[in-house]
C-alpha cells in the first residue's frame, strides 16, 4: 500500500556527483541556471545540453529516470513552444494556415525557450537525485548561515525541515499500519460519495493525529533532555568540508559559464 512511496527522489549511489559537498551542488546548480540565461546561439545550447547529459552520465543515474522528471513540466514546454512559434515577430514565414503563421525566428525562439526550461529542470533534478534530503538540508543551512545577521533563522529552518523530512516516512508507515488495521476491521476507504468517504476517514485520522501529537511531544522531551537549545555554538557530527572534487566541480562550472559568456559577448569584446 502506502509503504511503496519513496520520499523525494534520492537515488543512492557513489558517483563523483554523489560525493560532492551539498553546498557545491546547490551553488553549481544556481550558477548553471544563470549560465543558461547567457546562451543565445544554438551552439551555446548544444554545449549546455551536452554538459547536462555529461553530468547525468557521470552521476550514473538511469537516463530514462532523470528524463521522466521532465514529465510534470511538459505541458508548459509545449505551451511555450506553441506561443513563441505563432506569436513571435519575424520576416521569414515558413508556412501559414488561416490566421496562424509560423516564422523561422519564432520557431527558433520557441525551441530555445523550451530547451531552457527543460535544462533548468533537468539540472536541478540531478541535484535532488544525487543528494539525500537530510544532506541537502545541511547544505541549505550552511549556505543560509551568513544571512543570519539580517534575521534569517537558518538553523531553525533547517531543523524544521530535517524533522519534517525525518517524520514523513514514519507517518506514512503509521498511516499504512492504521489503514491496514481498520481495513481488517472491515473499514472501507475507497467507496461511497464524498461525504461518506470523509466520514470513513475518521477511523484513520483520529489515531493518526493522536500518534503524531504523541511523537511530537516525545521528540520535544528527547531534544530538551539532551540540552537542545538551538544552533548557537553547536558542533556537527558531519562537518561539511570542501574537498578537491568540489574545487574541480566549481572550476568546471565557472569554465562553462565563462565559455557561454564569451560566446555571447566575445565577438563584441574583440571588436573593441
Amino acid at each position: 500500500m502506502l509503504s511503496d512511496i519513496t520520499l523525494g527522489q534520492y537515488f543512492p549511489g557513489n558517483s563523483f556527483i554523489h560525493r560532492l559537498d551539498p553546498r557545491t551542488k546547490i551553488l553549481a546548480t544556481l550558477i548553471y541556471i544563470i549560465a543558461i540565461f547567457f546562451a543565445d546561439s544554438f551552439l551555446s545550447y548544444a554545449i549546455l545540453t551536452g554538459f547536462a547529459l555529461a553530468v547525468i552520465l557521470i552521476s550514473r543515474l538511469p537516463l530514462l529516470m532523470v528524463l521522466k522528471s521532465l514529465k510534470p513540466i511538459m505541458i508548459i514546454v509545449v505551451l511555450t513552444l506553441g506561443i513563441h512559434m505563432f506569436t513571435a515577430p519575424g520576416e521569414t514565414v515558413l508556412f501559414t494556415w488561416k490566421f496562424l503563421s509560423v516564422t523561422q525566428e519564432g520557431l527558433e525562439l520557441g525551441v530555445k525557450m523550451s530547451l531552457r526550461l527543460m535544462l533548468l529542470l533537468l539540472f536541478s533534478s540531478v541535484l535532488t537525485f544525487t543528494t539525500s534530503p537530510i544532506v541537502l538540508t545541511d547544505g541549505i543551512e550552511s549556505l543560509l548561515r551568513p544571512f543570519k545577521k539580517i534575521g534569517v533563522p537558518a538553523h531553525e529552518l533547517a531543523m524544521m525541515m530535517t524533522i519534517a523530512l525525518r517524520f514523513i516516512p514514519t507517518l506514512l508507515e503509521e498511516t499504512d499500519r492504521i489503514m491496514k488495521a481498520q481495513t481488517a476491521r472491515g473499514a472501507d476507504f475507497s467507496s461511497g460519495n464524498l461525504l461518506q468517504r470523509a466520514k470513513n476517514m475518521l477511523p484513520l485520522l483520529v489515531p493518526l493525529f493522536i500518534s503524531a501529537f504523541r511523537r511530537a511531544d516525545e521528540l520535544a522531551v528527547a531534544m530538551e533532555s539532551r540540552c537542545y537549545r538551538g544552533g548557537e555554538g553547536r558542533t556537527r557530527m558531519h562537518e561539511l568540508l570542501y574537498k578537491g572534487i568540489d574545487y574541480a566541480a566549481f572550476g568546471t562550472i565557472f569554465a562553462l559559464t565563462a565559455l557561454l559568456a564569451f560566446l555571447r559577448w566575445g565577438t563584441a569584446l574583440c571588436a573593441l
Binding site: T183, G186, A187
Partner: protein
C-alpha cells in the same frame, strides 16, 4: 476448513533501489481449531506472511485461500472470506478512534453488516472475553484507559467480528507480566470456547512452547521449520541459534541440570513439569 497458502512470494518497494524480498515461495496451511506460533527474528518476514492471511497484502505470485475461497477476487465471496480471519496488529491500541469503548468495539461487527442486536451481543461477549466489565467500561472513553486495558479494547474490537481464525501479531509486546498473562489466558479461553484457530506471531520462545502445538520458524522469507515446538527446540537447537532465535529458559535450565548429572527426561516445556521432574530426580516430595 483451513487457510491454504500456496507458493506465495512478496517483495516490498518493487522496482526501486530499496527493493526487498520479504517472502520467497512460502506454502503452508493452517487448519481450523489449531494454535500455531509463528516465530522469527525482526525482518524475517513473519509479519508479512500473516498479513497475507486475510488479504491485506496481495502476493506477487501464488495463492491464498480461506475455506477454499481465493482471497484474490474482488467479489463478495472473497470479501466475506477475508472477514473470516481477524487480525490483531502489533500495538493494536493505536488503532482505537471512537469516543466510547462500546463504539470502538462495535466498529468491526457493524462493518461486517451485523444487525444491531447481533452487534450488541457480539460487543458484550467480546468485552466479557477480554475481561472488561460491560457496565464499567462500555461508556467510557478508550483514551482514558491504561495501556493493558486499551490493548484489551482493541483485541475485543477484532473478536467482536466473530472470526473463525484469529491472527495476533505480538499481542504481548510492551505489556507488564500480569497483563501479558491475562491477555494470553483470554486468548486461550476464546480458542477453547469458540474453537477459533489462533495464529500467534511472537519473538518469545516461552510463549510459543507454552501455548502452541505447532510452530513455524521463519527465516529470510522462508519457512525453516514447521512442527511441534518442543521437538524443534530439541532437534534443531544449533540452527535456531544461528538464525537469531534462543531456546526457552526452561530448556536451558534443564540442560544445565542435566550437565550437573541430574537425570531429567527430554522435552520438558514448562516450569511446573520441570519442578516435578526435579523433585522426582531428587527424591523430594
Amino acid at each position: 476448513m483451513s487457510i491454504d497458502i500456496k507458493n506465495i512470494c512478496y517483495t516490498y518497494m518493487r522496482g526501486t533501489p530499496f527493493e526487498k524480498k520479504a517472502l520467497d515461495d512460502v506454502s503452508v496451511s493452517i487448519d481450523k481449531g489449531e494454535i500455531v506460533a509463528v516465530i522469527g527474528h525482526t525482518g524475517s518476514g513473519k509479519s508479512t506472511l500473516v498479513q497475507h492471511l486475510n488479504g491485506l497484502l496481495r502476493p506477487d505470485a501464488g495463492q491464498v485461500a480461506v475455506d477454499g475461497i481465493s482471497l484474490a477476487g474482488k467479489d463478495a465471496a472473497a470479501k466475506k472470506a477475508r472477514q473470516l480471519v481477524g487480525m490483531v496488529f502489533q500495538y493494536p491500541e493505536h488503532q482505537i478512534f471512537a469516543e466510547t469503548v462500546y463504539e470502538d468495539i462495535a466498529f468491526g461487527p457493524r462493518n461486517r453488516g451485523f444487525e444491531p442486536e447481533e452487534v450488541d451481543k457480539q460487543v458484550r461477549e467480546a468485552m466479557a472475553f477480554v475481561g472488561l466489565d460491560f457496565e464499567t467500561f462500555a461508556r467510557r472513553s478508550p483514551f482514558r484507559l491504561s495501556g493493558g486495558q486499551m490493548r484489551r479494547v482493541a483485541i475485543a474490537g477484532v473478536v467482536a467480528m466473530n472470526p473463525d481464525y484469529l491472527v495476533l501479531d505480538e499481542p504481548s509486546a510492551g505489556l507488564d507480566p500480569r497483563s501479558r498473562n491475562a491477555v494470553f489466558k483470554e486468548i486461550m479461553a476464546l480458542h477453547k470456547s469458540r474453537g477459533i484457530a489462533i495464529v500467534l506471531v511472537t519473538h518469545s520462545m516461552e510463549e510459543a512452547v507454552k501455548y502452541a502445538k505447532r510452530m513455524l520458524v521463519i527465516n529470510q522469507g522462508r519457512i525453516l521449520f514447521d512442527g511441534n515446538p518442543a521437538d524443534i527446540f530439541k532437534n534443531h537447537q544449533q540452527k535456531l541459534v544461528e538464525v537469531g532465535m534462543d531456546e526457552p529458559q526452561v530448556f536451558k535450565l534443564a540442560a544445565l541440570l542435566r550437565k550437573q548429572g541430574m537425570e531429567l527426561p527430554q522435552g520438558i516445556t514448562d516450569d511446573v513439569t520441570l519442578l516435578q521432574m526435579i523433585k522426582k530426580a531428587k527424591g523430594w516430595r
